[in-house]
Amino acid sequence: MTADQYNFAYLDEQTKRMIRRAILKGLAVPGYQVPFASREMPMPYGWGTGGVQVTAATLVPDDRLKVIDQGADDTTNAVSIRKFFERTAGVAVTEATTEASIIQTRHRIPETPLREGQILVYQVPIPEPLRFLEPRETETRKMHALEEYGLMHVKLYEDIARHGTIATAYAYPVQVEGRYVMDPSPIPKFDNPKLESPAIQLFGAGREQRIYALPPYTQVVSLDFEDHPFDPSRADYPCAVCGAVDSYLDEVITDDAGGRMFLCSDTDYCGQRQAAGHTGTEGAP
């Protein structure tokens, strides 16, 4: 594949217009899942085809793109998607959150706060927050239309009755501007408070043919109960390399005798902190 055989950012202009219309509709009705005619992409469904289509429709030639998977720029699929846009759009890329104009992500929101003018594109596997309570799309669309979210509250209540706490650790449901219940994609609930952001947030689900969006400064509330308030938990350690106590951590098994260490999942954040002289127990002196 050479770049000049394909249109800018791979998709043809008509397809990009169709996707942009869906994005605009999504921004106009925050949290509402807009059906769109998702295309077959040259990577498999499940690898981020929704996010890739949203990014392709959003990119302009002077954008600077960052792609992360699990918070890291160097995970295989992040590398592959970044390469795809370098090749088909020829845009500049970066690993620095602050330098990126568009960030495509899978499963994380960067630790560094986003600012106005930035766009965060999420890859979404199952856009429907009610899907595992009701498998039928015809039913769940009705439930959203009627704002019938009792089933979700019952599920959360049953969690508390059974486990003493809400047993959802990622893809934790939120309600947008007091209206639509939305799946924030499988980010850890630690990231949920960051969903209220100055940046534009776009969610693309390719296989399920849905796009939804959060305009800047949209109110996003994680569902909870007065006596069981939402708790964005993280592992109770500092990052072993940069010493951060405010970042989400990956657990790495270091030997077969139960040895483990905790490291920032956001590799850019960790790197910036190390560059600024912060260090943890395993960091360079």
Partner: protein, 361 residues
């Protein structure tokens, strides 16, 4: 000092190089050409064209070669290529009544105008491994007859002229395009058939088989199965009339199904319909059975809760490219989600242990 695992880019490049070498296999064995696959693996080529929704035997053969014979992977290559193609317009509906049939059989009548033509079928072969093929056995040329030439009428039309089979309402409405619009449910029959035509053969086979075993049984007979080539015609706006732009081979299956009648309808037979690119008769028959099962509502039948009757279930899960993508994506990194679950389960266990100690005291 701990150094995080890096090198995703290099690992990918190395994996691709190794894959290319594995695809080629032992270099002392001559490489297969695309033409060899197209000519000698014709049924695989047909399946890739049908489920890839692109009629191009050369590209399908290339995809099979590139995919190392993994047909779903080959179908994926074709689909991904297909989306990049510009649309010039829509063809006229093909006229299968004017098909030049290679094969045409009816299981419902011993003889019919146009005759029974077995064609190139495995049906009556004995499934004995032919070791001659392993030893470069060349095949003698088959005897040739004269082509019949006349149009071969559809068997169901004979039933239709007697009013014994439920007529299909004619319509000039332009059907929705599954590849250009999101699938919205409930789907009408045209859209359902469109989806089934590109659906996974194995999935449809299993569903169709389940209807035969009583999960929404609809007593299907193969009224007719025909395979052959049809002309594809397209209206050219500048000319003001349709011209033939090519010829494709398709398999068409019409089933004749039992139906007892209702308050408004006298007893009559009903139909299921299958139409697939290439010689793909297992798929076409399965498609017709599943089509018929999904028509329960329109025909006033009972929904017995069988999987094949559940249109939303069938249409949401019949596409193998969607299915394999989502199935296989779970091998991608999920450390972040898993970490959050780890923390949750540790917390729950700590709470349970603390509660247990409290109970004990």
């Amino acid at each position: 000092m701990y150094v995080a695992v890096k090198g995703g880019a290099r690992a990918i490049d190395n994996a691709h190089a190794w894959l290319a070498e594995e695809r080629r296999g032992d270099r002392t064995v001559p490489e297969m050409t695309v033409a060899q696959i197209r000519e000698q693996m014709g049924l695989a080529v047909n399946r890739v064209m049908a489920e890839g929704s692109l009629y191009d035997p050369d590209l399908a053969a290339l995809a099979i070669k590139q995919a190392r014979g993994d047909l779903i992977e080959a179908i994926f290559l074709i689909r991904a290529y297909r989306t990049t193609l510009p649309r010039f317009g829509g063809a006229q509906p093909i006229d299968t009544g004017n098909m030049a049939c290679d094969r045409r059989i009816s299981a419902t009548f011993k003889d019919v105008p146009g005759g029974q033509v077995l064609g190139p079928t495995f049906d009556y072969t004995h499934r004995l491994l032919d070791f001659m093929l392993a030893a470069d056995g060349d095949v003698p040329e088959a005897a040739m007859g004269d082509p019949a030439g006349d149009p071969v009428p559809h068997v169901t039309e004979f039933l239709n002229s007697e009013g014994l089979i439920q007529p299909e309402p004619e319509s000039d409405a332009v059907p929705r395009d599954l590849t250009r619009e999101p699938l919205e449910l409930p789907a009408d029959r045209a859209l359902r058939l469109q989806s089934l035509a590109r659906a996974d053969e194995g999935f449809l086979l299993g569903l169709a088989y389940s209807t035969q075993r009583g999960y929404a049984r609809n007593h299907a007979f193969v009224g007719e199965l025909r395979i052959g080539s049809v002309a594809v015609e397209m209206d050219i706006p500048d000319l003001g009339f349709a011209i033939e732009i090519g010829e494709i081979t398709v398999t068409e299956c019409e089933t004749v199904n039992q139906f007892t009648g209702s308050k408004t309808e006298p007893p009559q037979f009903t139909r299921g319909y299958g139409l697939v690119f290439g010689q793909t008769e297992r798929k076409a028959i399965a498609m017709a059975l599943v089509d018929r099962a999904m028509r329960w509502e329109e025909l006033g039948e009972e929904n017995v809760g069988a999987p094949a009757q559940d249109t939303e279930f069938v249409l949401s899960h019949c596409d193998n490219i969607q299915a394999t993508g989502f199935l296989e994506h779970i091998k991608l990194p999920h450390y972040v989600d898993f970490q959050s679950e780890l923390e949750l389960i540790r917390k729950l266990r700590a709470q349970a242990k603390a509660a247990g100690q409290e109970d004990a005291t």
